[in-house]
Symmetry: C2
Amino acid sequence: MQDKILNLLKKKESYVSGEDISSHLNISRQALWKHIQELKDKGYDIEAVPHLGYRLASSPDRLFEFEVWRSLNTKTFGRKIFYYDTLTSTIDMAMDLGVKGAASGTLILAESQTKGRGRLGRDWFSPKYKGLYMSLILRPNMLPTQASILTLLAAVSICTALKSSTGITSQIKWPNDLLVNNKKLCGILTQVIAETDRIDFVIISAGINVNNDKKSLISSATSLKEQKKEEVSRVTLLQEILRELEINYLFLEKKGASQILEKWRQSNATLGRRVKVYCQHKHIEGEALDIDSDGGLLIRKDNGITQKVMSGDVVHCR
Amino acid sequence: MQDKILNLLKKKESYVSGEDISSHLNISRQALWKHIQELKDKGYDIEAVPHLGYRLASSPDRLFEFEVWRSLNTKTFGRKIFYYDTLTSTIDMAMDLGVKGAASGTLILAESQTKGRGRLGRDWFSPKYKGLYMSLILRPNMLPTQASILTLLAAVSICTALKSSTGITSQIKWPNDLLVNNKKLCGILTQVIAETDRIDFVIISAGINVNNDKKSLISSATSLKEQKKEEVSRVTLLQEILRELEINYLFLEKKGASQILEKWRQSNATLGRRVKVYCQHKHIEGEALDIDSDGGLLIRKDNGITQKVMSGDVVHCR
């Protein structure tokens, strides 16, 4: 109902009479008044003037479900949303919901995280209302060993969404960091919960620095605000990410991984470069040649031998 | 403290005076009386006779932590136990505890399960006090793609423990059912919770029909009680399983998979037989030749071609 009231107010720049809203939505004036109060509590600045009615002066920068759903147009991605002001981590909540049987496409959003998580047990700094902190539950019909393609799919989808939603061109650092001008903008973490021969569910999580101020970021990180010199709508960006994720996911299901791999190659910052990959207490140095069909990185070492790594931290040399 | 009181009572077949127990354990007579009441509430039949003291007439058939710990002698497996009278499934609890950071070796036990789970989303019938329903959390230092060896390890360990603890010889049906006289005695389920390049934790779960009466079992299932014509101590069996699991796990960490695979080959009911394997909407028929180093089953089809399957349901033909 609050969604419908907002839609009516947003349609008109000026005042809408309470009577019009009430009769249109078939609710009492008293019920309308209560909903308006609740919207005000959520941060919507709604002016009420006697004899004129209500006017939406401004909307808060929040990821409320009904804001995300407005003209989202996905089939399943984000159709069910669990929204929180603060979580330890959207991943923890996604794990809990996934175990309890949450449907594929379920989205978990938090305005801030007290223990935001990155790859390999690292932290992700998650200040309130500044970034996008999201986890998406998927139940793909694939073997656990095939799941690493989903990491590449997520990187490709977010990269495309960043471009179409904000105009910012980002590059993918293998396997799944998004960089702008060699600084980290977005981290992606894919977790697989599986029996040895069957995926139960997958959690794709992303942390994106959106409206973080430059001074709050470490020197190796950047935000969309820093790049664009203006605030960016987190809702619009999130919607575009959900759409891109779903498009690529449905394509993967129907046609296989080749298009994802090709998009990844086009947007990556790693291939063709000299890299050091640190994995399991050792490192491999050489030229990053290509990614394999399962997402592994092929490195030609100085002795001419090509080696494949499935995991690790990449340092781009020079 | 209740553990210590039980130890004193179990040492002596006859009465132990309250004064002796109190002074030995340095607690008041009143505190002792309270502990005795709590033990009685748990089902321990403790006789109290004036001027003689206390005598343990019988112990209940329960999987209390202190019963499992008595002379367990493992390093980490089962050193931390979460014990419940009823759970939906030990797996759900293990998932929750694993996400919250429970240590490797943490064991979850339930006397009954309302939604006991088998492989591929199936049920596991879990009547109260009749079976062993357990989940073990492990944090192995291996890649997610290597985790299937843990399924074989669990099957081999439980097979060995069944033999040494009860004398019953069971056979492993690929990948991980335990059969006695071609009837199912035990189901094992391995779940992996992983980032694409790092295992977060693994849950090894087993359901074993121990003291189930024949009439409560479906015709394709059996219990240890049916096979032995007598009740079996679930605690003793559980301890032996934990010891075997730990021995094989430490061996795997140090020496690799070859011994696990060899033990599996020795105890299996599948290799050398004609099998039908149903996987992903089709089936493969042929002779089960061997298992691969990653636990896959190699099948020689009638056209002479050998095919490997990583998952599926096996039907032993003839």
